[in-house]
Amino acid sequence: MELPKANPIKHLPQARRRWLGRFRIALMLAPAMAVLVVLYLGALVLAFLQSLGYAPLYQINTFPTLHYYQDLFSSTGFWQSVFYTFYYALIPTFVGLILSIYLALTLRKRFALKRLFQYVYKLPLMIPYLVGVSLTILLFSNGGIIARVLHLIGIIDNPVEFPRILYDHSGLGIMIVYIWKQVPFMTLIIYSVLLGLGPESEEAATTLGANPWQTFWYVTLPQIMPGIITGTAIVFAFNFGSFETPFILGGGFPNTLPVEAWRAFDDPEPARRLGAMAIVMVISVVSGGLLYLYIAWYRRFEKRRGRV
């Protein structure tokens, strides 16, 4: 195109133009960055300062002290809390991932009512976790619908015989809610990667004599890796910091770390509130650190494979 490039500031001397350009960039980024810096980064910094004993709000200022961390690490049940938090976060991520990969691969096919199915499977993605909690209580509680069906066909006699799925440290109820909500999410991400790929490389592999399992393992899986990494990282981080589901469906003390953090923060005793901030920092650092390692590992893996 032969039209001259329009630039409203082009008649200005170059140094000034560069400065104005930078100013414009900063100005346009400022509102969004301000919200995130003040609220999100500010929140984390304030939480960190409080966990070190800086809390003029409660007339406490023993900054800097590691006292709240020491108390936390030596308190009864803390390490069990850590275990449960990992357990409830990891298992649904893993199980959900396997279910999602298979669902995404199946979705590539043409089948009757596919259009309708694409509405249906996304529904859990669109509604709050609390709806999932509510459905789980209705179905899986000891006197719930499933227990009643089992009673009807004569498998159990009394609700006590139904396995405890909710309000128990096995965490089955919590994990059911996570998987139910998150499979559509991970499926969507993997499916959208698959859509961008096209069938060529898989067909080539098949032509060259690979069996379906080999095709999946050596051709499809590496190609959908970016989707898998993103999906699992987001889901794990969410589960690790999730509050309402373990709060309602968990087995009581020791609770997961986010629930313990809320309980401590909800305590009228200011010292406990500072302890809550120590828990918050532990959650952030552990979750952030793990995800960093996870993504670093993935980068190295891609590099070794010759892709960047």
Binding site: L3, A6, N7, P8, R22, I25, L29, A32, M33, L36, L39, Y40, G42, A43, L44, A47, L57, Y102, L103, T106, K109, R110, F111, F117, Y119, V120, Y121, L123, M126, P128, Y129, L130, S134, L135, L139, G143, I145, R148, P159, Y167, W180, L188, Y191, S192, G196, P212, T230, A233, I234, A237, F238, G241, S242, F243, I248, V280, M281, I283, S284, G288
Partner: protein, 287 residues
């Protein structure tokens, strides 16, 4: 076709795949049936599969409204919760789009030194646990007197939505050629006019898509509303929380509120499936 062939082919499902899809559809849809029954129940004791007495026959025998009568009465605060959810949702959407648009435009079009850092920073709210942000923001708001206020909740909802909106809008701007805007400028339009008459109409579908999902996220957020709202601002998720957190049986009122809390999601699903492709859908989440 043999099963082995079907596994490869783009048409035709294996019996297991068919079962798998039906199973998924059932896990999503079948719990709704007992939920609807529960919302119309009056006496429903173990081990009955259906209520022994229904809402319809009991509602006129009591002095206070029960079941759906209660849900739709002013006493349940359902309409307050719906109104709050909508007001917060719309405010968040408008504010979020207003601050995300310029940022997305810069990120899509300009090169500058700190760009990598800004992009990285925009990703982090997705992977820092919500409870940490929730409690930290609450600390700030307690000090600023924003805890328990609408403004506080709207600002808090910006944290998960702004990074999301920026990512969606950045990809919209990236797919947009700058030619038309440049021509308009050459023809003498000022930047504001150019944006209003040229850029905006072209990116409008993208803005709509981003806006709908921002609204959806805001209407589904529980933790930030609950922490920052301090129980003073009731939205649909917090209303449902008070009902299910007592650990009791799912009573008819809770069942009714559960069904109503699903409505915004269902409506948005019906709207968005029509004109948003799966890739765009996923874009906001995957970065």
């Amino acid at each position: 076709m043999t099963i082995r062939e079907r596994r490869f082919s783009r048409d035709g499902l294996t019996p297991f795949q068919r079962f798998y899809l039906i199973f998924f559809a059932l896990t999503v849809l079948s719990p709704l049936i007992p939920m609807i029954i529960a919302s119309f129940a009056f006496r429903w004791f173990w081990p009955d599969l259906l209520p022994s007495e229904w809402w319809a026959s009991a509602r006129h025998t009591l002095t206070q409204p029960i079941g759906w009568d209660y849900v739709f009465s002013p006493y349940s605060r359902l309409f307050t919760a719906i109104r709050n959810t909508l007001v917060i949702g719309f405010s968040v959407t408008l504010l979020c789009l207003a601050i995300s648009l310029p940022a997305a435009r810069v990120l899509a079009r300009e090169k500058f030194r700190a760009k990598g850092l800004v992009e990285f920073f925009l990703l982090t709210p997705l992977i820092v646990p919500e409870v940490a942000i929730g409690l930290g923001v609450l600390l700030i708001f307690i000090q600023l007197g924003l805890a328990g206020s609408f403004v506080g909740i709207v600002l808090a909802h910006l944290i998960p939505t702004v990074p999301y909106a920026i990512r969606v809008l950045t990809s919209v701007f990236q797919n947009l050629s700058t030619d038309y805007e440049e021509q308009a400028m050459v023809l003498g339009a000022n930047p504001l006019k150019t944006f209003w008459h040229i850029t905006l109409p072209m990116i409008f579908p993208g803005i709509m898509a981003g806006g709908l999902f921002v609204f959806l996220v805001s209407s589904n957020v529980f933790l930030l509303t609950f922490f920052v709202g301090r129980g003073q601002v009731e939205t649909l998720p917090t209303l449902l929380f008070t009902k299910v957190s007592s650990g009791g049986v799912l009573d008819p009122v809770t069942a009714g509120i559960t069904l109503i809390t699903m409505l915004p999601g269902i409506i948005l699903l019906l709207i968005t499936e029509r004109f948003i492709r799966e890739e765009v859908f996923a874009k906001g989440f995957s970065g």
